[in-house]
């Protein structure tokens, strides 16, 4: 099941042009593709870059109903919306659209509660590996070795595996996707929209401003993250993990591009030592091994 571009073209425009997003913004690409795939979405946005790119009140770039809410309140507010719309008998799709700060860190308990209750919500996490709207501080999603404004010598800890934490909640659908593979993302969103309950989609969304990369290569970085094995593409349904067609060949390290091909295009990895690169490579392999156990 792979979607064709003409079908995507028929979808409504959800993000209006002339907004506050930086040139080459990865999350804008992720948002456009994901939200346009949904039927009558209502989007909850906690503090994150998405609360900034919508521009200044009273003008808004989002062309869908949007609730801006506090950092750690996305999934709870979405729970309220989903239940209220059920009570009112309205056909809508309730969405959490959160960055990695809101998902990996400060908002972890709110989504964990909503996932445990299996609320009827699609939770998207656009993952740019750090706190982008406050100017590039480390998050639980920052990979080892990456320089952020709060890890000037490179982060010393490994990146959290949010997909495995989410998987421990035994929710009906989990997927990872990258803006380097937009049709794969769109297809996964469509699939998620057919399922009831708490669904989670993690999207690799490069940030040229914070990663210190060329805005023009934002989609290429999305592809490279998959091809180097940095960002595995998979789905988890009923506890069973399936690596996606687009990314399964990178399960075998032999097929992966060298990680340097990914790192060298980003200023945040410029000062990586060979030891840090080795540790990062080990982290990636460890994650592949752990994910493979869920197959």
């Amino acid at each position: 099941m792979n979607v064709k571009i003409p079908e995507m073209m028929d979808r409504p425009e959800v993000l209006l042009r002339g907004n506050f997003a930086c040139a080459g913004c990865g999350l804008s690409i992720a948002y456009k593709t994901s939200i346009s795939a949904l039927n009558r979405p209502i989007v909850v946005i906690p503090a994150c870059c998405s609360s900034v790119i919508q521009s200044l009140h009273p003008n808004v770039a989002y062309n869908v109903p949007t609730l801006n809410i506090a950092f750690a309140a996305h999934a709870s507010a979405a729970s309220g919306i989903a239940r209220a719309k059920k009570m009112r008998g309205e056909d809508t799709t309730t969405v959490v659209w959160s960055g990695d700060g809101g998902t990996y860190d400060i908002g972890l308990s709110t989504w964990s509660g909503a996932a445990e209750r299996n609320e009827n919500i699609i939770h998207f996490c656009y993952d740019n590996n750090f706190y982008s709207n406050t100017g590039a501080q480390r998050s639980g999603a920052t990979p080892r070795g990456a320089v952020t404004t709060t890890t000037p010598r490179g982060k010393r800890e490994k990146r959290k595996s949010i997909a495995r934490i989410m998987a421990a909640h035994d929710i009906p659908y989990i997927a990872t996707a990258s803006i380097g593979y937009l049709r794969d993302l769109y297809t996964k969103v469509k699939k998620a929209s057919m399922i009831e309950g708490y669904r989670f989609i993690l999207i690799d969304a490069p940030c040229p401003t914070g990663w210190n990369s060329d805005p023009a290569i934002t989609p290429e970085l999305g592809e490279l993250s998959v091809k180097t094995g940095y960002f595995p593409l998979f789905e988890i349904e009923e506890g069973k993990l399936t690596f996606s067609k687009r990314g399964i060949r990178y399960k075998d390290p032999i097929n992966r591009l060298s990680i340097e091909k990914y790192l060298e295009k980003q200023g945040r990895f410029k000062s990586m030592t060979s030891e840090q690169t080795k540790l990062l490579t080990d982290d990636l392999q460890y994650e592949w091994d752990m994910l493979s156990k869920l197959e």
Binding site: S51, I69, A73, S76, G80
Partner: protein, 406 residues
Amino acid sequence: MCSCLSRKEEAESLGNDSRVEVKEMVQSLEKPQTKLMTGAEAVATAAKLSRPQVIAAYPITPQTKIVETLSGMVARGEMDTEYINVESEHSAMGAVIGASLAGTRTFTATSSHGLLYMGELVWWAGMTRIPVVMPVVNRSLNPWNIWPDHQDAMAFRDAGWIQFYAKNNQEVLDLTICAFKIAEHHKIWMPVMVCLDGFILSHTSAQVEIPSQAIVDAFLPPFEPLAMLDPDNPFAHGSLTDSEGIWEQRMSLIDGFNNARVLIPQILKEYTDKIGRLGDYLIEVTGNIEEAECAIMALGTLGEEAEQTVEFLSEKNIKTVVFRLRVFRPFPRKELISLIKRVPRLLVIDRAVSFGNAGQLAIEIQAELFAHKVDVLFYQKIMGLGGMDVTYADIAVEVENILKEE
């Protein structure tokens, strides 16, 4: 009513005892009843009669009985309500904000640390005008202590919420029903806190008259959203706002409270006319104001305790009067000043402190006295923190000390 039928059917399959229970319940919907109930049960009963469509709450002592009672009512099909068992108070308020903006009547309840943990979203609801009703069962803050004082609710006096303080279980029930109508009035449209003292009210049984469902329905029509998250008419709620925008919204909130000052008595009057109880006053006056040597002012059950003091002291031939503030936000300045002008002395009792200054009620009244150049001998006392028992006799001692000092 339809929820009753399913309960009735269920009961019929269970046998005679349940059938009697159902009969009682159906009666309760048709005509007013008097029941012995705790303050927590009064809150739950009021909530049930007000037909909230979404409830989200997290248990905390001494609020627990409210959420337990309500979840029982929902589980038994007595309420047509989505009940969300959230994982924290922060999420409870998050969920009701979402549900309210999605077009439903919402309700939650909390206390003490729960209110503090909810704090960020208490402000969110206040500043962005979410018409939720939330009873706060007043309880002291840390270190751990479960007994009543007003420190919790007072910490949120500036958060853009209307605040009521109830004196007994009857008032808890009546004000909670009125709170929905007040919160949802299109010229007010803001959240309402109904404060009740922990244990003294929440866990103490007293006679409460319960209005019939029909009369409450006549008083409180279904929820009518001013703005609703709707794919056919999209808007972004609470998006990034510049200084001018914030200024405009804050000024509007000030206007909203001014509207509330006018509209609250009207709504209380409408309730009183329909139900035959409650009264439309913002400040309850007990005792003979013309003869009083000293007026006593307090909130909640301290106000009711002070009413006993009036009687107690009159036996000693000391004339006092009680001004019990029923509503603290909006602050009923005009009514207060017109009362205080008529007495020679005023004793203000606070059950909370603004540390570094004085009791919040005392501070605010002093400001009004200065602004209106009221000539009264002013006294203040902090009492009952951490649930310290305060009796009518304790209050009498304070009054006697004042009179002796002069």
